[in-house]
Symmetry: C2
Subunit: 431 residues, 2 copies
């Protein structure tokens, strides 16, 4: 009941039911409180997605994803269509101020994921409205807001050195890195995912506003199309190379795989991280114009899959096993030794798997007139070393390296979920 009242209050905004409220009724009519995957089959959260990479259906547009649960939402939640990501630096040494902002951030995140306004006064003429307003009238749109803590948060500034998660350290230099400092690192990260980009942007903007004077935006990234499926109900989307991406991604239904590869377990000395994860982000620019000049056979041998069907080379169905041992008439492997799918496969990496949750991006053109576009890679894993192992191999040997470069990067410890409104993100660090 609380959620329903709250939701109506954002739609109605100050109690007036105007044109926007009425217009949204068609969506509200099919709305149903959506459960977090931890509590219900994840396919009910966002409903069946009709099309890869876009086209949210009515159910998913209206869906609410529960903020609370053993894990933060936005990891095993069915991947929404749009992303707004932000990295922040803390610009004060005052731990109390940081604590206050983290408290208000999680209270605001709870409200926004319910589809209601940021808590506070939005009606007194002599005060700035507590909510910036651009999401008024929009449904919750399956918004999730996921927080991460960067390695430097545990330095001397806030007395948090003893709280540092055991696996949290800056990523080492990796083969092929061409990182830009202005797209790398950050004390805090927010991943806001939604089927509506205006809802996702609204979340980032309002958190930045709440944190003003305590945290400052370091860098941001919009993603316009998901490049991963995280449940079996979702069709595999295509990335900007035109290939299906994430066919072999871990799916939320695979709870054993999630436990083995994604969630931090009880072996972590920092008990506050149990049920959490680590988020790695990489801004991977694609050299679009070079790729588009490559012939189809080159594209397919670089990836190791057929472009049309997504099937592995020498196979016929997208979900066929990779024929890594198969050889052609010439005695050579049908999936080349430097093909991307081979090098990224669990078979080639001692069984390692990560949960990918990436998005396509474009940010205009560069100084040379070339499209600045590619993949904003996000992965969740219980140990960043798993990503490092994979990227060391890929960065060294992957045939795809001719067509991509890693230009942005970051790693953050992702705390577990909160059980209810009595706890906030600050409690992980300051309780």
């Amino acid at each position: 009941m609380t959620e329903q009242r709250g939701r109506l209050s954002r739609r109605g905004f100050l109690g007036g039911i105007g044109a926007v409220g009425a217009g949204a009724a068609g969506v509200a009519a099919v709305d149903a409180a959506a459960a977090h995957p931890a509590a219900a089959p994840s396919s009910t959260v966002a409903g069946p997605l009709g099309a890869a990479g876009g086209g949210a259906d009515v159910t998913s547009a209206a869906a609410r994803v529960d903020f609370h649960g053993p894990h933060q939402a936005g990891i095993d939640t069915p991947s929404q269509d749009r992303l707004a990501f932000a990295a922040f630096d803390v610009v004060t040494d005052d731990a109390e101020e940081l604590r206050r902002v983290l408290t208000e951030w999680s209270q605001a995140a709870v409200a926004m994921t319910r589809g209601v306004r940021v808590p506070g006064d939005s009606v007194t003429p002599a005060l700035p409205p507590a909510d910036t307003g651009e999401a008024v009238g929009l449904p919750a749109s399956a918004l999730t807001v996921t927080v991460g803590f960067g390695p430097d948060l545990f330095d001397h500034r806030f007395g948090l050195a003893a709280k540092r998660p055991s696996r949290l350290a800056p990523l080492p230099a990796l083969p092929g890195d061409e990182l830009q400092p202005q797209r790398t690192g950050g004390d805090l990260a927010i991943q806001a995912c939604s089927h509506d980009p205006q809802v996702a942007f609204h979340a980032i903007r309002n958190l930045a506003r709440i944190g003003s004077g305590v945290v400052a935006l370091r860098w941001t990234q919009l993603g316009f199309g998901r490049t991963s499926s995280t449940t079996r109900a979702q069709a595999t989307p295509r990335n900007l190379m035109g290939f299906k991406d994430g066919t072999r991604n871990i799916k939320a239904e695979d709870t054993d795989l999630m436990a083995d590869h994604v969630w931090v377990g009880d072996d972590e000395p920092q008990a506050w991280m149990h049920g959490g994860s680590y988020l790695v982000a990489r801004r991977i620019r694609m050299l679009i114009e070079s790729w588009d000049r490559a012939v189809l056979q080159e594209q397919e041998t670089v990836i190791g899959r057929h472009k049309a069907s997504g099937a592995p080379l020498a196979a016929s169905d997208e979900f066929d096993e990779l024929p890594l041992d198969a050889k052609g008439a010439d005695g050579q492997p049908v999936v080349p030794v430097d093909a991307h799918v081979r090098l990224a496969s669990p078979q080639a990496n001692g069984g390692l798997q990560i949960l990918r949750r990436g998005f396509s991006y474009t940010d205009g053109i560069d100084e040379g007139g070339l499209l600045d576009a590619g993949l904003f890679f996000i992965s969740f894993q219980r140990d960043p070393e798993h990503f490092i192992t994979l990227q060391r191999r890929l960065g060294t040997h992957d045939a795809l390296n001719e067509y991509i470069k890693h230009v942005g990067s970051g790693v953050w410890a992702v705390p577990p979920g909160l059980p209810d409104d009595t706890r906030t993100w600050a409690d992980h660090l300051f309780a």
Copy 2:
């Protein structure tokens, strides 16, 4: 039938019905060939939109908008949710090359708006695929691709001086301009609008690829949320100031207003422009952080409307007439003399009206850590002088100027629509 076959061929891609094809079936089931507003009530094109600024419903996600008609699609088409805009320069002096690219561009635009692949070979292993592939499996998503010709296209290079539309000239310097050369002008413009940003980006990318060596991208802009309604069936969306935007916009149903204010009439000496229009684009950055610190009363008096309801000050309903003559107890106008809605109103501008079709944008942060976000303003009018008149007044007197700056700009002549596949965009200039 042709369209239906074509649509299936992009979804199936090379005849294989894989997971994406099956996943899209739920959308395809409700698909219906959508008519251009010129041929049918425009509300049937994209279906009733349930929510302002986002949330495409199933009908609109699947909708096809007819490329052909007396006017180009993308003007009186119900505003889609997402934008990809690109300005190009022609980098050759060879008129035949320009003619070829414009021919291939319109052929590709016809295909993409039908939801099928760019014409050409996408299956021969030894050739680069004709279509880059990232929209395979996605429905047409109401894509429109609208072309504009910039003033410099009619200089000495291509022998087109005698074809120059009578009203086409670079915009003059306007009060408050803070234009960045890298976001201004261009020989050609493409406005791609869709409910799916991946479909809109795909259109720009493939046109850039087709034009490689003849045209070069000059600048691009993504818009993530519409800020205008162009039919009565659409709820008024909110812009990033949190206010409803475009309440008094011309609607496509107002065919007399469209004829009077938007479409180039028979008085234009260049007959090839009859039924066309002029597109003005302005990248209007909002000083988000300053706006968010302003108190509610300041925000409302600057705009001249209530934030929650969208009603004019001293009125109660969004669609109430502006009470421009009403005075308060203090004898002052209730809608201040420098309020945005007053200065932009037809009453204050001798009856001038323009068709707005703008989008919200964000492009990360600037060097100072402030959000680079605002409104990508697009308007269509039968004479760019109408925009110039409005902006001279607004740029000089508008109270909103404290919170915005115009940083990008361009004007293009928008030719009329093409009747069928026997004609192309090149014919406007070279027939």
